[in-house]
């Protein structure tokens, strides 16, 4: 009984605690935003782990898909529910913002998944280094395309997402952003966990070990690659949408190759093919980034150095490709997470 529901219980308590603390403003705005970025980073790193870890490809343009999700979600939200200089009066009654918000974020995810096709189609014939280049190119193409769309701000960026959040809070006063980030983080981790342990997940693993052999064993590699790339970039889009609403401002420059590198660092820090590793690494990395913030530009020397040292001495990351339950077998008695 305990084993079955312990994860649900812990998550409910944790969520309740965060909402309680945020509602009565025991947590400062800064601390709350660090917590929210932690959630977004968990989504991003675990979704990139799907491609880089489980499937064994080398994608380094994850921030591009995040950008698509962020822009689609923000434009939809601002267009529908907020008064804005660019889009004019809200199209729908702002009272509906609360109910439509998850739909908007998911729409961003779907758009990002479609953008993932940009990488999925070339991946049929291309592997390894060449595919890495294609993902970088996709990242640049997406950023450059958005920079050239002057109707949504171009390289100046897009604002007005705070209006949507205010509309939600007018309807019912609750700290909505932490709640949605928390729920979406759990949703994304759950989806990835289900996907990896499904039949498709076995196929993904087979591709990572040997693509030709997998194909002979009747794994439809093209189909699995398409689905995995779409799922991974779709979840990144969800993360991007949340990122945009937390910041209240997006510009294409913040989704460049540096952001992709940041996500990659988290994946390799945690260990390829380990979901709990990605989550731990995302939490650890977010805290590390905040601690290093006073160092300003030195931060970007320390982080690559950490990764270089990691590659020299423990290239498999913190967790290797094992999950938490495999490292501490006794924990298995207390929880079950599927």
């Amino acid at each position: 009984m305990l084993k079955r529901y312990s994860v649900h219980l812990i998550l409910t308590l944790l969520g309740g605690l965060i909402v309680y603390l945020a509602y009565f403003e025991y947590l400062g705005l800064y601390f709350l935003s660090v917590l929210m970025f932690m959630g977004v980073n968990i989504i991003l790193s675990s979704s990139l782990n799907l491609v880089n870890g489980y499937m064994g490809e080398f994608s380094c343009g994850h921030a591009g898909f995040m950008c698509v999700g962020a822009y689609v979600a923000s434009v939809l939200g601002v267009w529908l529910f907020a008064r804005d200089r660019v889009f004019g009066a809200p199209l729908l009654d702002p009272d509906y913002a609360l109910y439509a918000f998850p739909v908007i974020i998911l729409a961003g995810g779907v758009a990002a998944a479609l953008a993932g096709l940009l990488v999925a189609f070339p991946s049929y014939k291309t592997r390894g280094d060449y595919l890495a280049i294609i993902t970088i190119a996709a990242n640049y193409i997406i950023i450059s395309a958005i920079e050239n769309m002057s109707s949504i701000g171009g390289s100046r960026g897009l604002m007005g997402m705070k209006g949507v959040i205010n509309a939600m809070e007018d309807t019912l006063y609750l700290p909505w952003m932490p709640i949605w980030v928390f729920l979406f983080t759990i949703f994304c981790v759950w989806v990835i966990r289900r996907y990896v342990s499904s039949t498709f997940g076995k196929g993904v693993n087979a591709i990572s070990q040997d693509e030709v052999a997998a194909e002979i064993m009747s794994v439809n590699t093209n189909k699995i690659k398409t689905i995995t790339f779409m799922l991974s970039s779709g979840l990144a889009g969800i993360g991007g949408g949340l990122f945009a609403y937390i910041l209240g401002y997006v510009n294409p420059g913040s989704f460049n190759i540096l952001k992709s590198t940041e996500i990659m660092v988290m994946v390799y820090l945690g260990g390829m093919g380990s979901l709990s590793g990605s989550i731990l690494a995302a939490i650890f990395f977010t805290i590390l980034l905040e601690l290093l913030r006073p160092l300003q530009i030195i931060k970007w020397i320390v982080i690559p150095l950490v990764l270089i040292i990691l590659m020299q001495f423990r290239p498999e990351g913190i967790m290797g490709n094992r999950e938490l339950g495999q490292i501490f077998p006794r924990l298995k008695k207390f929880y079950r997470f599927k």
Partner: protein
């Protein structure tokens, strides 16, 4: 109309020369080690900075005339930049190679080395842009409506010379033969008495040295230096190398000029902000239909 075409061809050749020079470095290292040296674009940036410091040192503190400074700058920049490249190889790549680490880890290390070079530069010299001092008098020639400068011609001629030299080294000398042998079979080569590490160091010296030369030429043509200048040009040069078929010197050369041509064409007919978009889209299309590039050979994988 004809003048316009010739004018654009000259511009494309000059712009493509930079890509070709950097792409040669990528392709040399890839051909020998099958390693994407992602730090190469930043080595180019470091080369431009080294050229800047060498030039200002000689020009300001010693007061030597410009043409002599240039004559000193070329070998000094190439030597110092190749030392940066070799240092990277010694500190970051060689320990991993000795351990027999997975190629992916080496690629990530390379990417991180590039980031460190960029931001160390930013931290040490600040974000202010540096203006490169003019070394030689720039003459503008005008032949039948087509205008070009002596610098433009020098850049194009240098790129072609470097290509010929490298092609000669790889195909005609013993070192080049050893390079080709390593790319063919890394395990049998030491058994034949070929010093693996030395050849790899020579490869890095050649690649980084020519990146330094490209940095010097770039700084002379577009005399504004900033720490991030290497990143985008490096990525694009890499794309040029891949489009030509990475690992093949002719491919890198051709790919560089092709990419330069495409970009100049785009700027001639569309708004210049679309340049990156179209260049990267062309790459995506080429790689989708011909994944190994123009000169690359598809490898068969065995189970």
């Amino acid at each position: 109309m004809l003048e316009l075409i010739i004018q654009n061809v000259i511009n494309a050749l000059q712009w493509g020369s930079f890509y070709a020079l950097i792409a040669l470095g990528y392709t040399l290292v890839y051909g020998v080690l099958t390693l994407i040296n992602f730090a190469h674009g930043d080595v180019f940036m470091v080369g431009a900075y080294i050229a800047f410091f060498v030039a200002t040192f000689f020009l300001v503190s010693l007061g030597i005339p410009g043409w002599l400074v240039l004559a000193l700058c070329v070998p000094l920049t190439m030597i110092l930049t190749s030392m940066v490249g070799v240092t990277l190889e010694r500190i970051a790549y060689r320990p991993l190679r000795k351990k027999g680490a997975h190629r992916l880890y080496v690629v990530i290390t390379a990417l991180m080395c590039g980031l460190i070079l960029q931001h160390a530069n930013l931290a040490i010299f600040g974000a202010s842009r540096k203006a490169f001092p003019p070394l030689i008098q720039e003459h503008v020639y005008n032949v039948g409506g087509v205008s070009f400068t002596n610098l433009k011609i020098a850049v194009i001629v240098t790129a072609i010379l470097v290509f010929l030299i490298l092609h000669w080294i790889v195909t005609r000398t013993r070192v080049g033969m050893a390079m080709r042998a390593i790319s063919y079979d890394k395990f049998a080569v030491p058994l034949m008495g070929i010093p693996l590490d030395q050849i790899i160091v020579i490869t890095f010296v050649l690649g980084s040295g020519f990146a330094g030369l490209a940095g010097l030429l770039f700084a002379m043509s577009y005399p504004v230096l900033e720490p991030y200048m290497g990143a985008l040009i490096g990525w694009k040069a890499f794309i040029a190398a891949v489009v030509g078929g990475i690992g093949d010197i002719r491919g890198a050369f051709l790919g560089g000029f092709l990419l330069g041509g495409i970009e100049i064409l785009v700027v001639a007919f569309f708004p210049s902000t679309l340049r990156d978009l179209i260049a990267f889209t062309v790459l995506l299309v080429i790689l989708t239909f011909k994944p190994t590039g123009f000169f690359g050979v598809a490898k068969t994988t065995k189970i």
